[in-house]
Symmetry: C2
Subunit: 347 residues, 2 copies
DNA sequence: CTGAAAGCGCTTACAG
DNA sequence: CTGAAAGCGCTTACAG
């Protein structure tokens, strides 16, 4: 027991000094071995690194960042955790950033007010970059980031001002893809199930979808306002959909989780069959979309490319914090066809 | 443009020195104002804190932790992101820890090997505590945590050795609750759909369930091995279930996501009706369990209490790192009855 | 109760 | 190419 407790006492960490003494070198030299661009004899570096490995020395990132002003910490702010797209993205983002030695400090919160506070606490850790997943930042907090010199990237949202980076799918193109897909398969009356009216993703998917439908000579698709990106919102939208004068035969939902709720609502509340009575298309291609119960046809977000772009930004601002922000929109290329849609030309 | 770029340069941060000069005090005094237990005149503290607020000074946590050896960073290791229980827990945990000024550094990874590397990187940041959600840690990495004096808590898993804290639901009791629930409602032939054989959650839920069924005079429940905690595993288990000689009328699945997959498989592959042909019970009570499409009866994990216990540990080890580890098992108290089960006494 | 000084573990000009 | 020294932004004995 006593032994046990003793084992858990915070052991004094091995420091540069220890390693320098061990190697009979100066701390300067030892330190240089850990910096790829530092001027040091290759042989010396090898010796240092080897010995460090042996005795388990790793530079203290806090002491280091006190001088370099770099923390290798990336703040990740996520609020909409009910959308399975985000856990998937968070996991991959964490892995990808780690591959470049960057650690993720997570800020998850529900209320916008909480987000603000959380970001402020995050800022005291001087992250090299803050990544905002699908939420808003109050203008004040945005300014605080700027004042502190922390670059911000909005992921999967249109950046609202030109002080921030933005990485997102080209949602207009995605919306148009869906319209083409449905029209090519003989659908005549299209509908859009809308989510948050203030989300760029919702607005753009809708615009691309509606515009393409009109371009191709269909009537303007009817819109049902579900209000949120959630299962419940989709389920609830089924009632309003059922009340439409003439029933659409092709429905595009703002994202997958909304589509899945909508499908369940349509089936259980309206007693309609999918895809016999109507086709349903989503957006994201979350893992759940492939489940046999829904087999949702959907636009796959170019997550790989979006993550790569984000990691590139992280590396760039890490080297050069004053880099000029830009917005990158990546066109989706894959529409995964499953059993929630069918070809109506046969009718 | 030039203006823009200039605005983004990392501004020199306000330091104690700046604030001390501004207030005509020594840095020592200013510093003390930020430490609740420090000896300082109340009036002085008020003045300092007020002025700090005004000019936006916040102590640099890195510089601070260099001396205190406390980082207020909690490492959160999560691997099984396909189970919606974890995103929910991660969000709440992050919020709850933040309420005590602790930040979460997230380590998400798929492969065990990756986890090891990720935890090593995490360790260089000297987290005050590492919380492991439902994954394993290789013995070597466990030793590295110990060597560095970083306490470890296993969340929702039985701690495997007495060097680590453990916080989990009492899964035996939970399993027994399910058996009682089904038996009380007239079910005669019980079955268990098993997930990872090496997970304590799976093993204990099964044991509690089987034992109680036997105690109450039923035949030993049959077990179907699904192998994993996933939708796909549950869906796949339906086939084996359908091949059983005599069909069970009450099924307990190792957790919700497995149950949801199982229900879909049973309905689509076997053409059986739930709850008419069989009742299905899950474990966790994730948000998805309440969706109308599944309306899953399930044991609610005592998440509140589990989180509270975890945060308490975080605060305790933060004050006294050598605290003796313990394992806390919290009995579940709520079994949420929905429409995936019914009363068979009427038959 | 407050201040001057040392020091946490590093990095980086500056000499040599 | 290497070392001695200064300093990053704090905290904390130690005096007073």
């Amino acid at each position: 027991m006593a032994d046990n407790a003793k084992g858990r006492e915070r052991k004094p960490r091995i420091t540069v000094k220890d390693l320098a003494r061990d190697l009979n070198m100066s701390v300067s030299t030892v330190s240089r071995a850990f910096h790829p661009h530092a001027v040091i004899a290759q042989q010396t570096r090898d010796v240092v690194l080897k010995r460090a490995q042996e005795i388990g020395y790793r530079p203290n990132p806090f002491a280091r960042s006190l001088i370099t002003k770099k923390t290798r910490i990336v703040g990740l702010v996520v609020s909409d955790i009910t959308n399975p797209f985000y856990p998937e993205v968070v996991t991959r983002m964490t892995e990808d950033l780690r591959a470049f030695g960057m650690n993720v400090m997570l800020v998850a919160a529900q209320a916008p007010k909480e987000i603000d506070d959380a970001v402020r606490l995050l800022l005291t850790y001087q992250p090299d970059l803050a990544i905002i997943l699908a939420s808003r930042l109050s203008p004040e907090v945005r300014d605080e980031c700027e004042a502190q010199g922390t670059p911000v990237v909005f992921f999967n949202r249109l950046s609202e001002d030109d002080h921030c980076f933005g990485v997102s799918c080209d949602n207009r193109i995605g919306g148009a893809m869906v319209a083409d897909f449905l029209i090519d398969r003989g659908h005549q009356r299209l509908a859009y199930i809308a989510a948050r009216p203030d989300a760029s993703t919702n607005v753009e998917r809708r615009a691309g979808f509606v515009q393409r439908a009109i371009e191709r000579g269909l009537e303007e698709p009817v819109c049902v306002e579900a209000g949120l990106f959630s299962y419940e919102a989709g389920y609830g939208a089924a009632a309003a959909f059922g009340a439409l004068a003439s029933r659409p035969d092709g429905v595009f939902c703002a994202n997958d989780i909304l589509a899945i709720g909508f499908m369940d609502g349509v089936r259980r509340e309206l007693g309609l069959a999918i895809p016999e009575d109507l086709s349903v298309v989503g957006f994201d291609d979350v893992a759940m979309a492939a489940w046999p119960s829904h087999a949702l046809t959907t636009v796959r977000q170019p997550v790989e490319a979006m993550l790569k772009s984000t990691v590139d930004i992280a590396r760039k601002v890490s080297a050069q914090p004053a880099a000029e922000p830009f917005v990158q929109r990546i066109a989706p290329t894959v529409l995964v066809e499953r059993q929630s849609t069918r070809n109506r030309h046969a009718d």
